[in-house]
């Protein structure tokens, strides 16, 4: 019987530190824009603080809940149905920036695609654990395991692609793939998945001119420094001009209207500029700690559900962070993906903190 151990201080500490860095950086990066658009420099950070409190509350609550209660079918299937409903509902809300990503509850805006990541993780963890039982069919049974596993996931992915939010869709797919891989997916399927994914991505990219442009710009940002390459180039200038120790907190010049999305997707560029290489490395170290403790929790988890859920959550946080960093540093084409815990955005922060709550609980049950 697994025994309860002390909660994971490393994971907990890294998460709180990331949230703190996030709050500071959102304020720094958004103050001028907030003053411009909302009339007060605290416009964005105020909202973010509310989400942070909500998220921390949720995290503390989930830390106390035994994660195994989450695998009950009533939880899993209710949340799956709920998320499909929400993902459908977004299309009935007015688009923002020509994208249906948000559901509005009065002043609150919720991004169901963020929540969908969590739902997918628990659904897959529960399903795969059932299939991994000794008398069961195993992971590689296409009809009985892969089809029920990937069917709902692909529907979710498809709905997110339609929003359109290719970045998040790609991420959900990545999480699912990682969980299946850890569950013991046969290499043949992996190769097959790659064979399906690459052409699918290529088709999706070619279908939308702006995506194609982003890719082309990524390959050669100097070709059009004032146009599509602007964002990436400005990001690189911000990062590069930070140097070893940065220009100082609040002192970023690039955030002043040079760098679009300075407080959301490109907040890491502002961080690099203000805090320099050392600051950026420290933030990466925090993510590293998160990853270390997350994978450690997965390895120590007493059961397959805990193990797979821990992997899913860790891959979600770490993968999203790495994708975001890669984009900011010009290693990947531009995608609209926020940096976990740090970027401005309530839904993302809330989901990350809830997931961390579950992860902390799993870590407590290590055997």
């Amino acid at each position: 019987m697994p025994r309860a151990v002390q909660f994971d201080r490393w994971l907990y500490g890294a998460t709180l530190a990331l949230c703190l860095v996030g709050a500071v950086m959102v304020f720094s990066a958004s103050a001028v824009t907030a003053e411009e658009e909302l009339g007060s420099p605290y416009g964005f950070i105020g909202r973010q603080a509310l989400w942070l409190l909500l998220g921390l509350g949720g995290m503390f609550a989930l830390m106390q809940v035994d994660y195994r209660r989450l695998r009950q079918p009533v939880v899993i299937y209710t949340s799956l149905c709920g998320i499909l409903l929400l993902l459908t509902a977004v299309f009935f809300f007015p688009p923002i920036n020509a994208a249906h990503r948000w559901i509005h509850f009065g002043p609150l805006r919720l991004q169901p695609s963020e929540l969908a990541k969590l739902v997918v993780i628990f659904y897959l963890a529960a399903l795969l654990e059932a299939r991994l039982r000794p008398q069961s069919f195993g992971v590689n049974d296409f009809r009985r395991t892969l089809l029920p596993a990937l069917g709902p996931v692909l529907i979710v992915v498809a709905l997110v692609v339609l929003e359109p939010d290719l970045g998040t869709a790609f991420e959900i797919f990545l999480i699912a793939l990682a969980m299946l891989f850890v569950a013991g997916l046969d290499w043949r399927y992996l190769v097959g998945a790659a064979g399906v994914t690459v052409p699918a991505l290529a088709a999706l990219i070619l279908a939308e001119p702006y995506r194609l442009r982003r890719v082309l710009v990524f390959l050669n940002p100097e070709a059009d420094p004032q146009g599509s390459g602007f964002q990436l180039l400005q990001s690189l200038i911000a990062v590069g001009s930070g140097g070893l120790t940065g220009v100082g907190l609040m002192e970023s010049r690039q955030k002043l209207f040079y760098l679009p999305e300075a407080h959301t997707d490109f907040i890491f560029a502002v961080l690099c500029e203000e805090l320099g290489f050392l600051g950026a490395l420290a933030v990466m170290a925090l993510f590293g700690i998160y990853g270390w403790r997350g994978f450690r929790a997965a390895l120590a988890a007493p059961d397959a559900f805990g193990r797979l859920a821990a992997v899913g959550i860790t891959v979600m946080v770490l993968g999203q962070a790495l994708i975001n960093l890669s984009v900011v540093l010009g290693l990947m084409p531009t995608k609209g993906i926020p940096l976990p815990f740090i970027s401005y955005g309530g839904s993302s922060l809330l989901v990350m903190l809830l997931a961390t709550g579950v992860l902390l609980n799993i870590a407590q049950h290590a055997d």
Partner: protein, 692 residues
């Protein structure tokens, strides 16, 4: 079996978790590597790029110091104007933009396009535009075109004192005149100001100090004396058809230059439109053989060395003398003349004899002592030291030639300074143009070398009397002033033909240098006219100009008359038309009782009560002067023959007699000026005009 299967599954699962973790670690290392590359290894490149787009280095030249005349009237000011620049990266279509801008900027479209391709971030389109062009460009509403405030030098009086003031280039760097020689002080501290710009090109921060404004410069010039000198020079050039000319007016005691006029002249607002010759400051740069005016030096040396005395009779040998086998002919065959007459008649032979008595070394010493052969130190660039060979290099003929002003090259400013030293009692005072500099409210007067005694006061007094004789009965009779004593010397020098290296038979430099009044000289005036074609004698063409200038200037300065002005009837007999014209500026003897009453107390300050009222006097109508500038009032009054008495500075406020009244020509018109800005409290602002 169950357990084993579960265990094997677990092991495989753990391996796969580990491999995912390793994958993440590798990815993280790649990201960290990229971070290091950008922030550590390419830091400088990106910092440079960041600076380039965020900062604009703007050369902010502080407004250049104002140049004033001695009475605080502005001669050169800096005004704010707009300069247009482009940020080519923001211009969507440079081709069209260039074609739209070309007609406004007066440039070829291709030229503009070339400029736009030169830089992506900043390029000047045209500096210092006029307001109309700015409006037109703004109306085009083109993206990427911006304006920057700059200062432009403006010379409100156009040609007035152009050679003294000089001019500046588009960056307000002085290129000539005091603008050049005092550029450092006038310019102040230009600051390369760091301006940070955000992506919407709003400037949000300014690093760096405020630029330090340049010092204001107060010249010794008096704009009205300058005006008189230029007007009379222009008139003389027109009348004599000379190619060029110079008039200098100096205060002989202080050495201050009150007026420096050259012809041809130029408008310093548009110096590029003037010929090189017009921009040349002849007064300090042109070197010429002085001819007879140089005899004052020979005479001074001979008197000081006690080699002669005014009454000594010298045989002028009927106009010819042999020196070292060369025959030198006088311009007239004189017989026996005393020294006073030698100077008055400008006998070459007589002067040569005095020079021979001195010998080369002594003569050379005096020439140097009077400041020839070296820079006077006037605050202008391009000054020439003249041509003077050391006494060792003189030929046997030289002492004779130099005694009468040949074989030596001088500048006008050297000549006037030498004459001033005789006028002031024997002290050589360095000529000066700068009274003081005003820096941050502090007045700084430049240091001056102490005056150097050249001849004793006695010798100077003797010489002044001899020079008066030149004007009273010698070659300079045309320089006689109505109402003041005067002294001076005429000069008629043959120019050296640059083609043959010999004296030209046709081209002469006619000159006159003199001072007045005799005993307490207030001004030294030099007039040179270069190559008047017909009448080229200094006594005929230059002396009358001296008279015109000196009379107006002495009147303006309020110098009391020291002789009873000749009766009008006497003057009426004179045939020279300019004499009558001159008298128009001479109100004292013509002023009518009515006009005197109208002018009130102003008329009595000269100490001359009007004695005559001629029935035949031409009368003129007093113009309305209210609202006009000091300059405009002076000009208008002098033109119609009224003598302006100006009180205060600024804009004309009221006048006596009133506009429309008829008064005799030559009457005084007293005009009170108020500063325009302080019309509400005129009493406190109106200050009496200083006269010195």
């Amino acid at each position: 079996m169950k357990y084993d299967a579960g265990s094997a599954e677990r092991v495989r699962s753990h391996l796969r978790i580990a491999s995912v973790a390793v994958l993440a670690l590798v990815w993280m290392l790649v990201v960290a590597g990229q971070l290091a590359r950008l922030q550590l290894f390419e830091y400088r490149t990106y910092l440079e790029r960041a600076r380039r787009q965020q900062q604009r280095i703007v050369e902010v030249s502080p407004p250049r110091g104002i140049i004033y005349d001695r009475n605080g009237r502005e001669l050169a000011v800096s005004i704010q104007v707009d300069s247009a620049f482009a940020v080519p990266a923001e211009i969507p279509n440079p081709h069209i933009a260039a074609r739209l801008l070309a007609p406004i900027l007066g440039l070829a479209p291709e030229e503009i396009e070339t400029r736009l391709s030169r830089s992506r971030s900043f390029v000047w389109l045209k500096r210092k535009l006029d307001a109309a062009a700015v409006e037109q460009i703004k109306a085009l509403n083109l993206a990427g075109i911006y304006f920057q405030k700059e200062h432009r030098r403006f010379y409100p009086n156009r040609e007035l004192a152009a050679h003294v003031l000089g001019f500046v280039d588009v960056d307000e760097r002085g290129l000539a005149g005091v603008e050049y020689s005092l550029d450092r002080q006038l310019r102040g501290q230009p600051v390369r100001m760091l301006v940070l710009a955000d992506a919407r090109r709003r400037w949000y921060d300014r690093d760096g100090r405020e630029p330090q404004r340049g010092s204001h410069l107060v010249l010794t010039l008096d704009d009205r004396i300058q005006y008189i000198a230029e007007k009379e020079l222009r008139e003389a050039i027109r009348a004599t058809r000379a190619q060029a000319g110079t008039i200098l007016v100096q205060n002989p005691v202080s050495g201050e230059i009150l007026a420096l006029a050259n012809w041809p002249s130029f408008n310093p607002n548009t110096p590029q439109e003037a010929r090189e010759a017009a921009r040349m400051n002849r007064a300090v740069s042109a070197v010429y053989e002085p001819g007879s005016i140089f005899k004052i030096v020979t005479l001074a040396a001979a008197l000081e060395e006690k080699r002669t005395h005014p009454g000594e009779v010298i045989d002028c040998q009927n106009g010819a003398i042999y020196i070292a086998g060369h025959r030198i002919r006088d311009h007239k065959p004189f017989g026996l003349l005393n020294v006073a007459q030698v100077l008055a008649q400008s006998s070459d032979v007589g002067t040569i004899k005095l020079g021979l008595r001195l010998g080369p070394r002594t003569l050379y010493r005096y020439i140097r002592a009077f400041g020839f052969g070296e820079l006077t130190g006037i605050e202008l660039s391009g000054e020439s030291r003249g041509l003077l060979r050391a006494a060792e290099n003189w030929t046997p003929v030289s002492v004779g030639s130099i005694s009468m002003g040949q074989e030596i090259g001088v500048t006008s400013v050297q000549m006037v300074t030498a004459m001033s030293s005789i006028a002031n009692g024997g002290l050589l005072v360095a000529p000066r143009l700068v009274r003081e500099l005003h820096q941050n409210g502090q007045r700084v007067a430049p240091e001056r070398p102490a005056p150097v005694r050249v001849i004793s006061a006695t010798t100077a007094a003797t010489l002044r009397r001899l020079l008066e004789g030149v004007v009273l009965e010698g070659t300079g009779k045309a320089a006689q002033l109505d109402g003041w004593t005067a002294a001076g010397k005429t000069g008629t020098a043959q120019k050296i033909d640059p083609l043959t290296g010999r004296y030209s038979l046709t081209d002469h430099i006619a000159s006159f240098v003199g001072f007045a009044p005799l005993n307490e000289p207030a001004i030294t005036v030099l007039v040179t006219l270069d190559s008047p074609p017909e009448n080229y004698h200094g006594g005929r063409v230059a002396a009358p100009v001296f008279k015109k200038v000196a009379e107006q200037v002495l009147t303006y300065l309020g110098v009391p008359h020291d002789v009873v002005p000749p009766a009008p009837r006497l003057r009426a007999r004179r045939s020279q038309p300019e004499a009558t014209e001159l008298s128009d500026f001479h109100p004292s003897q013509r002023i009518s009782a009515a006009a005197a009453e109208a002018a009130g107390s102003a008329a009595s300050d000269a100490g001359h009560t009007p004695t005559l009222a001629l029935a035949s006097t031409e009368s003129v109508e007093v113009p309305a002067l209210r609202g006009k500038s000091v300059r405009a009032v002076t000009e208008q009054c002098l033109q119609i023959g009224l003598q302006p008495v100006l009180i205060g500075t600024g804009v004309a406020w009221d006048q006596v007699p009133a506009a429309g009244q008829r008064v005799p020509r030559g009457s005084r018109v007293t005009v009170r000026f108020l500063r325009a800005a302080a019309e509400s409290t005129p009493a406190t602002e109106a200050e009496p005009r200083g006269r010195d």
